[in-house]
Symmetry: C2
Subunit: 151 residues, 2 copies
């Protein structure tokens, strides 16, 4: 499974979120053998859980592990500081980012922790989220959060 294949799994998750009436952001985690070990999508509106970012939901499905350091995580939107904190806490070494134009995310934090990341800026990630934001500005304002430029 390539980086693009893994991002495709994350995009499918984002689409699931959209069909559920949520914000379309998805994430997927694969192990060193290319097997999916976790996937999920933003569930903030579906579950009223303010921590339910896509990366968090993907990690939840992966469960308790001691092999995080062999994983790659893909996410359709650049991870915020909370999700980057999750990534550095368990030392997931490699991140595939589908879109860092809508939100820059905490790339400085990933760099500071020697997490390798690739930014693909895939049009389907960008367009899907941007369309949702244009149609749901008030909902987006509630979940957008504060992103410090030095994150």
């Amino acid at each position: 499974m390539t980086e693009h294949d893994l991002l495709d799994v994350a995009i499918k998750e984002a689409r699931k979120g959209l069909t559920e009436g949520g914000v379309p952001i998805g994430s997927a985690i694969m192990d060193a053998q290319g097997h999916i070990v976790g996937k999920g999508h933003n569930l903030i509106f579906q579950t009223k859980d303010p921590t339910a970012h896509a990366e968090m939901c993907a990690a939840r499905t992966a469960g308790i592990r001691n092999d995080w350091q062999s994983f790659t995580l893909a996410t359709t939107l650049s991870p915020c500081l909370m999700c980057s904190g999750l990534i550095t806490f368990y030392q997931i070494p490699r991140i595939i980012i589908g879109d860092d134009t809508t939100v820059p995310g905490a790339r400085n934090t990933l760099s500071r922790h020697q997490i390798s990341f690739e930014i693909l800026n895939d049009p389907s990630c960008i367009d899907m989220l941007q369309t949702w934001i244009d149609e749901n500005p008030k909902k987006w304002a509630v979940i957008e959060g504060h992103e410090h430029p030095n994150n």
Copy 2:
């Protein structure tokens, strides 16, 4: 409700975790009027959710809000980078830390984001967790995570 009262709610949560067979770390959130709006304890072992740190669980019970900026969060253990990321994302301005001797947490991140924090180093927080760690070294190794000194 004072800082110590709020920390007491967090300590009660930590004790609940202990009775459930989990790691005793608790958290509580109060609003500007001193009402508890969220509380929770670490549920990693109870629910096999690697993101279920006490602060995350407390925020989950608070739900979707637009008034995070008037809250104070107490936690029995200094928050890691993931939980500090949650705090900065929603801009919770004030944190009460029961113990920063067992784990230093991401205090630099809190400072960088102008989050005010008080470190109480309450013996009941420190002793309860340290006793658990001494009795459960293998479990602690699984959930300890990587804490960079510059966090």
